[in-house]
Every structure is written in structure tokens, then in C-alpha cells.
């Protein structure tokens, strides 16, 4: 079907405060398109399906291979990375919208700075003594390394927050990604030395206890990180930490 066209319904918004609206764009069909390639096609000649001139939708992207976390969007109602979303596998017409749990900046771009602030809050790093040459790092079994590696692939893309019912306008729930990072650093031989600091950051009202156990996060994660395992484990650790703190231990 060489003359087949693909219709995209794209949710647009001029800036942070204006009202959203939908626009239809059409491009000729070609096999093996992903959403990014389709958007790139649209911006080469940004006309509406009706023929009226428009402007290219704004979106975020960078690596185009599912490692940078930039191009998260809601495509046909499902939050995912636009680069790995293949047009041939989607029902048509295709709808593309920005994530809903973050403020829209413009069109498909949202402001995810809250996620990076949360990494700051939970102190998601190894507090090394300095960058000077202090020899080899701690030993680690390969089995433990493999487990930790699952968590260290988190791209801070926001999918887990987007699907979480606890993340809404009435709650500041920190979300699964940051909890996964606490799990990662608390399992590192050096990171474990400061694990209480990170548990303290998860102990508040917006911390791990706010998880409603919907388990959507683990299904939405594009890196298949076992987020619910991390939440369960950090929940236990926070409880133990609070008890210890209560009894002055």
C-alpha cells in the first residue's frame, strides 16, 4: 500500500499556561518507522492533514536507543519512549500526548526537574573520600553486581511516576525511581555505610510508605527494573530504621 498515509493526532500546548489543543498531521506510510522518525518527517513539512500550515511540534529526544530517557511520551494512551515505539505495531490513528504527571513546558515537552531534585533529596551517590588515587574499589560478587545493575539502569524517564495513582495533585509521593536508587546505593558496600541518611529521606509522608501497591510502575518501566521489589525492601528497611531511631538504637 504505497499510497497509504499515517495519521497522527498530536496534543499541543503553546506554553506552560495556555490551554492544550489537538492537531492532525499526516505523512506517507513507510515501513519500520518509529515515533521519532515520524515526528522528524512531520517537521520537514509541518502542515496539518487539512493542508493548513502549522508549526513543528516540540519534543525532547537525544539518544534514540532507549538509554537517555529523553523522549518519554503518552502514545495511544500508554506512556513509553518514543524511540522504541514502532509505528507498524500501533493501532491507527496514532495519538501522541505529553505526560500528565509533570507540568507541560510546550507541546510534548514536560518539566521533569522534580525527579532530579528527588535524587538530590535521597542522596543518590557514593560519598567517596576524593577523586585522588586510592586504589581499587570494594569487592562485589557477580551475583550481587547483576542485581544492582538492574537498578543502575534507571534513566529518570518518568514512566513509573506517570502510571502511579499515588502521584497526583494531592500528593508529593517521591515515586518508584528514587526508591529504586536508594535500594541501589544502600546495597553498595560503600554506599551502605550511609544507608540511614537515604532511609531518612524516604521515611517522610511523601516517601516509601505512600506507595499504594498498584504495581503499575514495574509494568511501565522501559528498562524492566524490578521496582516493586525495591519498594517492598525499602519499606521494610524504613520500618526497621524508624524503630531503631525510636528506641534510640
Amino acid at each position: 500500500m504505497a499510497d497509504e498515509t499515517l495519521l497522527f493526532k498530536i496534543k499541543r500546548q503553546k506554553d506552560e499556561t495556555s490551554a492544550p489543543y489537538w492537531e492532525d498531521f499526516s505523512i506517507p506510510y513507510q515501513p519500520n518507522l518509529n515515533i521519532i522518525a515520524a515526528l522528524m518527517e512531520i517537521r520537514k513539512d509541518p502542515k496539518l492533514t487539512s493542508g493548513e500550515p502549522s508549526t513543528a511540534p516540540a519534543w525532547e529526544m537525544n539518544c534514540l536507543e532507549n538509554v537517555c530517557g529523553s523522549c518519554t511520551m503518552v502514545i495511544n494512551g500508554k506512556v513509553q519512549q518514543a524511540c522504541t515505539t514502532l509505528v507498524d505495531k500501533l493501532t491507527k490513528p496514532i495519538t501522541i500526548a505529553p505526560m500528565t504527571k509533570f507540568p507541560v513546558v510546550k507541546d510534548l515537552i514536560v518539566n521533569r526537574s522534580r525527579m532530579f531534585s528527588n535524587l538530590l533529596k535521597v542522596r543518590a551517590w557514593i560519598p567517596i573520600d576524593g577523586t585522588y588515587d586510592l586504589g581499587a574499589g570494594p569487592r562485589l560478587s557477580e551475583a550481587e553486581r547483576q542485581k544492582n545493575y538492574q537498578f543502575s539502569q534507571c534513566m529518570t524517564c518518568g514512566c513509573c511516576l506517570e502510571v502511579c495513582p499515588q502521584v497526583n495533585e494531592h500528593s508529593n509521593f517521591i515515586g518508584a525511581s528514587s526508591i529504586g536508587q536508594v535500594r541501589l546505593f544502600n546495597h553498595h558496600p560503600t554506599g551502605a555505610m550511609n544507608k540511614d541518611e537515604r532511609l531518612e529521606a524516604l521515611a517522610g509522608d511523601d516517601g516509601v510508605t505512600s506507595c499504594g501497591n498498584a504495581q503499575n510502575c514495574v509494568k511501565a518501566c522501559p528498562k524492566e527494573i524490578p521496582l516493586t521489589e525495591a519498594i517492598a525492601e525499602m519499606n521494610r528497611d524504613v520500618t526497621v530504621y524508624k524503630l531503631k531511631k525510636f528506641f534510640g538504637g
Partner: protein
């Protein structure tokens, strides 16, 4: 008058770029107690370094093979076809084990041995297990560790991040010394100047000049092109690495790491051209493992320039590509499936997601793609008594503009005419490690703090950029920036990559000049003043065109073949005439080329021959004076034709 240098009590440094080189530089400068303003086009955690897959080299010799930094040094210089200045290469190869240990201490989840030590794998251009790795997402893992350390420095108040900002240019004082930058907030489109006592550009490579490549979309080389146009020398621009193994795509050519071959992957084509059977159904005796046959000593792990030329030759000249197309098999199907999941999981997942086939059971179909620039902004180095570099010396990695530094892929150091796999992560990190203290001391030794300089210096630079932006955003015409970019990519990929021909290079430059004219007539359909993506892209496109000329004209001038630069008209390396660094300087008429001597003070240049063991090339070099125009006698007939 030999005035004593008044110490600058409030030094401040700007780092532009938040990939591996930029973040390591930031962390090291902040550690010296000098605050850093860190500018990045994207949140630094999303920088292009995440795309590096295979690993980082360091001769830690945990496999009892007798590896050492000295061998790593020799492999790197030899792999680079002797075009690299040797003291900086010695520095990074000596430093490599310490760099890997440092990143391990930062929490990188490097794969481990049974004893819990760092595991190492093989990579191209060496015969040792020298590459530390974290699955097949090593770049991502290293970047995250530095992103975390940067966030820690941020929490301590030593780093201020400016994310979603575009670098527009540097601010120079009346003496031509760099005193800050002008940048644009990509949300509000506000243009501002920022004073700094030193500026480090760490903005990565320019692969996007070639349209589709393995690079991320932000790798337009725009910052390098800006400082080039502001007077910084650009070196060895013509040396562009084309990686042998990538998956073709409409939006991107996705890298399939060299580690696939490091773990035992084999490259082949069916002996019968156009064989219609799928790879897994073709019997062993009907397959041509052309790299193993032609290069018995290194096999599938020849350096990238050689593997790329061979794949190109097999497909384009011999018409032996799989299914008659420009593709060859990269085969992992004979390897232990569980083991490759652990060691190569990241790339297997990419292949599955984008191609829809399982590389554990079907051989992957791949083709070369533009990957890396060996060339970049010219930088200085301060040689130490032992032939390496002097740590802490502010001359290291200073560009030809005082106060302006360059680090990472955007500089030209270390890799000569061809980079070895897994040396890029090392060079980015070792450079950041090296220059942190030097840049901090340079900033401290400025007689006056940049923020105390007359404000008109910064206002002038800011208004220059503002009026440029205003003019550009009002541009009307018939050209679409994205379409013109596509044309640029096709032109450059066709003529300035694997095989280069003087007539075509000259025609390419003529076309580039047409494009430079055409880009003046782009239609800015969208001149919105909030999060405008079209105007900054158009600006980057203009800069890409300037760098494209540097790459093309450098290639046109260099009448020899060396590393990634291959001209059938001049098939041999020609040391007497061309063992020299190309230097391009901007003039409004185009790049002006001159040449500079290469520092070969430590290893005597000898011809490369990956069909034999390296020791044999040393023996040959000792018998025969180097720098002749002749061939090394080839021990196997297969290396003829494609060098």
C-alpha cells in the same frame, strides 16, 4: 615589568557539556574548591555518553596475559597510525587503571570475576583482555556515576547547573583571552552572558553533520564550530571514524558494540552472493569469514578503520552483501546464551527492539556508520620529563585561545588517525581528571576576577548574539532547515566517509558553499519566543556547514591513506610528507590549512599490518627505515586492494 600575579580570590569556571569529559572536569574542579557553572543542552544525565556500550580500556592485567600500560600505549599509537602526539597518549594509558578504580569506587556496576574482581574483555586492536565493562551499557553506567558525583557537588554548593541551555559563543577581552560565554535558555529563549575565569568546552563530537550516524541528535558539533569561528584552531578534522557495525534505521544508525566481537562474535557473508536463505540456515562451509581469513592475527578484532573498509569492500565492490544489500552478518548465535545476556544484554535488547529479531538465534545484519571524530579543537600539552604530561600544568588542553579549554571528543588529542574501541571513555575521563586541577589553578592565577571586569565586555557579546538571533528568527525563504540538513548528511556520507576521492571532495566543498548560501534563505515558520526548537537548530546547521568544510578540505588536501582516511588514488601512508597534524583556521572565505609536527618522541613510527603479530611489525620496522613510501611486504595476499 614583572608584576606579581594578584591571586584571584573568587575564581569561577564554566564547563560547557555534561557528558563524561564535562562531568569529570566539573567534579575535579569543584574538588579544588573552585565553583563551576555547568551548561548543558540536555539534563546532563541524558548526554550522549550514555550511548557508549562496550567498555573502557585499562591495562590492569587480571588475566595473567602480561598486559601493561606500555603495551596499551603502543597499541593506541599503532592503532592511530602514528598521527597522535605521544605524550598525551602515554599519560592516559598510564592513568587508565587508576581511572577505572576511581569509577569503581564511585559505584559503577562493572562486571565481576568469580573472585569479585573487575572482569575484562577483549576489544579491537589489541590481543589482551583490557576492557572493563558494565554489561553493554558501560557509557551509561560511567556517566551515571559522574552525574551522581556532580549532584553531590551541587548539594555542597560547588556546582550550579544550567540545563537546557545552548552555548552561543565565548566572551573575549581586549587581549583575546576567554573571559566567559554567551548562552541561551532553550525554554525562555533568553540570551545571557556569563563571566568565567576559564571556560572548558566538553561538547562531544559532530556526527550529526553526516545526517544519520551512531551519534545522538545533539551531536552537531555546534560549540566546537562556534569557537573555531571565534579563532580557535581545529585539528585533524578529516579523521572521522566509521564504525563497522551498526543497524541501519530511518532516524538513526544504532551502534552494535565492538564488544559483540570481543566476546566472540564473528563477521561473515554467504559465499553465494544473494543467497536467499536466512543466516542461521546457511551451513558453516558456505560462509565466508572474511576478516578472520584476511587478518589471521587479529581476526574479527582488527581496528575499526580496517573492519569498516573490508565490510564496505565486500558489499560495495564485491557485491557479496547479505541478500544483495549493503549488510553483513555479525553472528553471536554460537555463543552461550546466558553468558551473552549478562555481558551484552544492552545491545541484544536494542537489536530485538528495533529489528524485531532475536540475535541469540539469528545472526544480526549490520553495516558501517559514522561514529566518532578523532579530530577536534586543537589543544596544547605540557610534556613532563619522562615523556608523559605534567599534571596540574594549566597548559594541558588549553586551546589556541587563552583561558579556553577543550576536553573529550571535541578535542583532537590521543586517537590520531583511528581510535581504538574502548579508548574514548578513557580519553574523556582521563582528560577531565588531568585538567581539573590545571584549570582551577589557571582561574586562581588570573590577575582580576572575570566578574569584576567592565560590564560592557559582557554586554557587547550578549547583544552581538541577541541581534544575530533576532535576525535569524525573522529569516524568510523557501528552505526547510531539516530538509537541508538531510541533504548535508547525504552529501557528506556519500563523499567524505570510507572511501575518498579528490574530485568528489572538491565537488562536495563546492556544494557545501552552496548550502552555506542556501541556509541564509530558510523559512522560520515558527518564530515563537518560548521553547523554539527551529531557530537553535538552524543556527547549529549553519555551524555544521562550517565544520563540514573543515572536514572535507582537510581530506582533500591530505594525499595519502592513514587510519580512517583512505584515498585509493594514494593508497599508502606517506610519512615524509604527511606525518603531520592538519590545522584549520577560520577565515570568512573558508578554512585556512596549515600543518604541525606530530610528537613521536616515544615510539618510532612503523607501518601497520594487522595480518601479523605486532612484534613482527617492529622487526620489519627495525630492518627497514620507516617513512618510506613503500609497502611492508604482505605476508598474506588478502590485504591487497583494501588497505
Amino acid at each position: 615589568m614583572a608584576a606579581t600575579v594578584a591571586k584571584n580570590k573568587n575564581p569561577r569556571v564554566i564547563v560547557v557539556g555534561g557528558g563524561l569529559a564535562g562531568l569529570m572536569t566539573t567534579v575535579r574542579i569543584a574538588e579544588q574548591g573552585v565553583p563551576v557553572d555547568l551548561f548543558s543542552f540536555v539534563p546532563v544525565k541524558r548526554s550522549h555518553s550514555v550511548c557508549a556500550q562496550g567498555g573502557i580500556n585499562g591495562a590492569i592485567n587480571t588475566k595473567g596475559e602480561g598486559d601493561s600500560p606500555a603495551v596499551h600505549f603502543d597499541d593506541t599509537v599503532y592503532g592511530g597510525d602514528f598521527l597522535a602526539n605521544q605524550p598525551p597518549v602515554k599519560y592516559i594509558t598510564d592513568k587508565a587503571p587508576a581511572i577505572i578504580y576511581l569509577l569503581d569506587r564511585m559505584g559503577v556496576m562493572f562486571n565481576r570475576t568469580g573472585e569479585g574482581l573487575l572482569d575484562f574483555r577483549r576489544f579491537g586492536g589489541t590481543q589482551f583482555h583490557r576492557t572493563a565493562f558494565a554489561g553493554a551499557t558501560t557509557g551509561q553506567q560511567l556517566l551515571y556515576a559522574l552525574d551522581e558525583q556532580t549532584r553531590r557537588a551541587e548539594s555542597e554548593g560547588n556546582v550550579k547547573k544550567y540545563e537546557f541551555w545552548d552555548f552561543l559563543g565565548i566572551v573575549k577581552d581586549d587581549d583575546g583571552v576567554c573571559k566567559g560565554i554567551v548562552a541561551q535558555d532553550l525554554r525562555s529563549m533568553e540570551i545571557r552572558s556569563f563571566p568565567a575565569d576559564a571556560v572548558v568546552i566538553a561538547t562531544g563530537g559532530p556526527g550529526v553533520i553526516f545526517g544519520k550516524s551512531t551519534n545522538s541528535v545533539l551531536n552537531t558539533g555546534t560549540a566546537a564550530a562556534e569557537v573555531y569561528q571565534q579563532g580557535a584552531k581545529y585539528a585533524n578534522g578529516e579523521f572521522i571514524q566509521v564504525h563497522p557495525t551498526a543497524i541501519p534505521g530511518i532516524d538513526k544508525l544504532r551502534l552494535m558494540s565492538e564488544s559483540a566481537r570481543g566476546e566472540g562474535g564473528r563477521v561473515w557473508v554467504p559465499k553465494e552472493p544473494g543467497d536467499k536463505r536466512r543466516g542461521e540456515f546457511i551451513p558453516e562451509d558456505q560462509r565466508w569469514y572474511f576478516l578472520e581469513e584476511k587478518y589471521p592475527a587479529y581476526g574479527n578484532l582488527v581496528p575499526r578503520d580496517i573492519a569498516t573498509r573490508e565490510i564496505f569492500d565486500v558489499c560495495v565492490n564485491e557485491k557479496m552483501g547479505v541478500f544483495g544489500q549493503n549488510q553483513v552478518y555479525l553472528d553471536l548465535t554460537h555463543l552461550d546464551k546466558k553468558l551473552i545476556d549478562i555481558k551484552l544484554g544492552g545491545i541484544l535488547e536494542i537489536y530485538e527492539k528495533f529489528v524485531g529479531e532475536d540475535p541469540r538465534t539469528s545472526p544480526m545484519r549490520i553495516f558501517p556508520a559514522v561514529h566518532y571524530s578523532m579530530g577536534g579543537i586543537w589543544v596544547d600539552f605540557a610534556k613532563s620529563d619522562d615523556g608523559s604530561l605534567e599534571e596540574g600544568n594549566p597548559r594541558n588542553h588549553q586551546t589556541s585561545i587563552p583561558g579556553l579549554y577543550a576536553a573529550g571528543e571535541c578535542d583532537y588529542q590521543f586517537h590520531g588517525a583511528n581510535r581504538l574501541g574502548a579508548n574514548a571513555l578513557l580519553s574523556c575521563l582521563a582528560t577531565g581528571y588531568l585538567i581539573g586541577p590545571g584549570v582551577a589553578s589557571y582561574a586562581r592565577n588570573q590577575s582580576k576576577a572575570a566578574h569584576e571586569l567592565p560590564s560592557n565586555l559582557f554586554e557587547t557579546a550578549q547583544s552581538r548574539e541577541q541581534s544575530y538571533y533576532n535576525k535569524l528568527s525573522k529569516s524568510t525563504g523557501t528552505e526547510n532547515s531539516y530538509k537541508l540538513h538531510q541533504e548535508l548528511g547525504e552529501l557528506m556520507t556519500a563523499n567524505v566517509t570510507v572511501v575518498r576521492d579528490n574530485k568528489k571532495l572538491a565537488e562536495t566543498d563546492a556544494k557545501l558553499q552552496e548550502y552555506i548560501e542556501r541556509v541564509e534563505h530558510v523559512s522560520i515558520q515558527d518564530n515563537s519566543s518560548w521553547t523554539n526548537q527551529l531557530v537553535p537548530f538552524t543556527r547549529h546547521l549553519r555551524n555544521m556547514l562550517q565544520l563540514a568544510r573543515v572536514i572535507t578540505l582537510g581530506a582533500l588536501a591530505r594525499n595519502e591513506s592513514r587510519g580512517a582516511h583512505y584515498k585509493p588514488e594514494f593508497p599508502d601512508r606517506n610519512d615524509p610528507e604527511w606525518l603531520k597534524t592538519t590545522i584549520a583556521q577560520y577565515t570568512p572565505e573558508g578554512p585556512q590549512l596549515s600543518y604541525e609536527e606530530v610528537d613521536t618522541s616515544l615510539i618510532k613510527p612503523r607501518l601497520r599490518n594487522y595480518a601479523v603479530q605486532k612484534e613482527d611489525t617492529i622487526a620489519v620496522a627495525d630492518k627497514k627505515p620507516t617513512g618510506t613510501n613503500g609497502h611492508v611486504p604482505e605476508p598474506t595476499p588478502a590485504t591487497a586492494g583494501v588497505r
